[in-house]
Amino acid sequence: MTRLTNIQLFCILVITMVPTPYQVLAKLLAVTVAQHGWLAILGSILPGFILVWAYYYILVNSSRPFPGLLEEHCGTVTGKILGFIYIWVFYLVAVKSLVIFANFFLSNVLPGMPISILLIFIILPAFYALRKGLEASVRTVELITITGYPLAMLLLFFGLGPETDWSRLLPLGGFAVADLFYGILLVSTYSSFMIVVLTLGPFCHQPGNLWKWMFSAYGLFLLSTLVIAAIPIVTYGSALTSVQTFPAFNIARSTNIAGFIHNIEIILVSAVITGVFGVLAIFWFVTCYSIQQVFGLQDYRIMVGPTAIMAGILAVLLVPNIHFMYIMLERIFPWIFITLFGLLPLLLALVIRLKRPKDLQPGMMAGNN
């Protein structure tokens, strides 16, 4: 059985949570709560901690990786049905990351490039990594996190110009509470991508320390989203941020280091490409692994080929244009993801807690017994 180090799991969690918000969260929050995006992020801390607790609690009380553990706790029929639903939702996240990236790339970098070629260049390496096995994918994700993440964040800071005004994050009042809650929901959507830990956590070397790495990854996610949401606001103000398709890219376009290093947004593009590869590879793996679990297949790798072709086709068909993509990101996906990645696991954790006899210690984790 493949074993992951805790730092590798930390990298996986960071790469599943951060790249998508990096591209779209600033705009989504500006549209929803204007300059109060940072407040929504702070408001999402508690739900996030509860999610981390729920995932960890499910992990230590299950003997099989997700979605197999659903059968363990909910019975075979319900578990299989839920598992089947989860396969599609994991797949949806993978396809969604492709859709966002394709729109990002074709809006900002090479508008004339055929979308099929672009998708092939992203899907092919992920396909190869998945075929090589989990170890290859995770090692790549580890390298991407260490190299791409700091670069992408640094570029946002370099983009801060002399006109930056931190007081644009104020005033505190003047927002509808419902909007703020919706902002919290949007942020929590991306923190709920941490659900991959239920599938990958059992592969860890030291499952006892897992909670520390989960909290660290979540902490880094919070910090990153704060930067991602705040920098476009302090630079452009909420009105302009809300009409930009990809605010982070616009910040990087303004980068001017010491008056002679500029036009370096292509570095951001390369960091985003690797990040999207990470999200795609991890969620694609979880999809294939879920198929294996639900349908009792011997190896998940036989599903990589068919799902690759389908991912490419779906990425083209899922949204007709960027306007519709943002409608999906703003109004449809959050509800799907928060229900299946947030509420259901939380419910599951509570069910496990209630069903567990009081004198029983938490069970052994999958792959550890």
Binding site: S107, N108, L110, P111, G112, M113, I120, L124, Y128, R131, G161, P162, E163, D165, S167, L170, P171, G173, G174, T235, Y236, G237, A239, L240, N250, R253, S254, N256, H262, N263
Partner: protein, 391 residues
């Protein structure tokens, strides 16, 4: 076998990259762009582009002579006009090299909305490009002007505004990003440095002269040199450099020449605080803090004494306040909140702002302002007193 097939497939795909970049542009097929000009003529939008045109290969160690070429097209939209340029020009302009945008006065008087979408949506237009308004002239005339030693007037313009930042310190360069942000943010209006063509002894030269003031998407007036300096003093960020001339007689404009003293500003910063009075009226409290050096004196009196230094500090502070007040007065006259006071009120007193927002220009014009300026002398460069005069 399958592995071999996969490797072959990968190598085949990677070999596509050997042909070079997807959207490569050969040097011989392209031409550098120094900047654009945007204006309107009647119902047509005018797009101008200044390109570098190498006019021959250098010989025997000479450097290549580079001519300025200005291309002009008119259409219903700027993007359309820009693309029409390729109908008559054989090379592909490299738009991303452009550093300057000139807005025509006619366009600025008509409506900025005519141009804001084009400069914000187009990915070739970089957010850190510098913006200028052509006053009393057109973008085309400015672009055509010879500006030795620079080959291109738009490059010269960029160097002038950056250069004056270190010496004259009157005008603030405005980037597209800043202009766009102020354009879209309630409670603040954008400004632009103006460029004029002046004629001296039959020779035309470029000069940055005044600051264009906008209100609700339209050009409504301008600040002169003193008011522009005042605008600089009122900027919330830390300003570096500048020179203020004071007169020991107290009369800055027409005091005796031998009593003129030039005070250098090393740094200055303004704090603007809105004060809501009990009767609901708003007062803006402005506190300008600056420090600097004694730079030049014409009087033979020793100014570096315990008695004279505070006097000099007071005179300089008064001069700073005078410039700032002149700017405020002009902005209020034009009804344009170029200082972003509305934005400050909206952050500090959102409830008050909600009442004022609809008719902010009128409220701004009637705003009471209380300004204070403080100046501290730090050093006096190479002399510790006036140059001694014999006998």
């Amino acid at each position: 076998m399958r592995k071999m097939l996969l490797v072959w497939l990968l190598l085949s795909l990677l070999s596509l990259c050997l042909a070079g970049c997807y959207n490569r542009l050969e040097l011989d097929d392209s031409v550098g762009v120094t900047g654009f000009g945007l204006d309107v003529e009647g119902e047509q939008k005018v797009f101008l582009v200044q390109v570098t045109s190498p006019s021959g290969k250098p010989e025997g160690g000479q450097t290549a002579k580079v001519d300025t070429l200005v291309l002009k097209e008119k259409a219903a939209g700027y993007a359309q006009a820009a693309r029409q340029i390729t109908l008559s020009f054989p090379r592909t302009p490299v738009w991303s090299l452009a550093t300057t945008i000139l807005l025509g006065e006619q366009l600025a008087r008509e409506d900025l909305a005519l141009v804001m979408d084009f400069v914000s949506r187009n990915r070739f237009i970089r957010p850190n490009m510098l913006l200028f308004l052509t006053a009393g002239t057109t973008p085309e005339e400015v672009m055509q002007l010879k500006t030795p030693p620079e080959n291109h007037s738009l490059v010269a313009l960029e160097k002038i505004i950056r250069g004056q930042q270190n010496y004259a310190e009157i005008y603030l360069p405005v980037t597209l990003r800043e202009f766009r942000t102020k354009y879209a943010t309630p409670g603040v209006e954008p400004v632009l440095p103006q460029v004029r063509i002046e004629e001296n002894a039959g020779e035309k030269t470029l000069r940055i002269h005044g600051v264009a003031v906008f209100r609700e998407r339209r050009l409504v007036g301008e600040l002169d040199e003193i008011e522009s300096r005042g605008l600089r003093f009122l900027d919330a960020g830390e300003m570096r450099g500048g020179l203020v001339t004071v007169n020991l007689s107290g009369n800055r404009q027409s005091g005796p020449l031998e009593e003129m003293v030039s005070m250098e500003i090393i740094r200055s910063r303004a704090r603007c605080t809105p004060l809501i009075n009990e009767d609901g009226s708003i007062e803006m409290l402005i506190d300008i803090e600056a420090d600097g050096n004694l730079y030049e004196q014409t009087t033979t009196e020793n100014l570096q004494t315990t008695e004279n230094l505070p006097r000099l500090e007071q005179l300089t502070a008064a001069a700073i306040k005078e410039d700032a007040m002149a700017c405020i007065k002009k902005a209020q006259l034009l009804g344009s909140d170029i200082f972003g006071w509305g934005e400050i009120i909206s952050r500090k007193h959102p409830a008050v702002w909600r009442q004022l927002e609809a008719d902010w220009p009128a409220h701004f014009s009637n705003l009471k302002v209380r300004a204070e300026a403080r100046y501290s002398i730090r050093r006096a460069y190479l002399l510790d007193g006036p140059v001694p005069i014999k006998n």
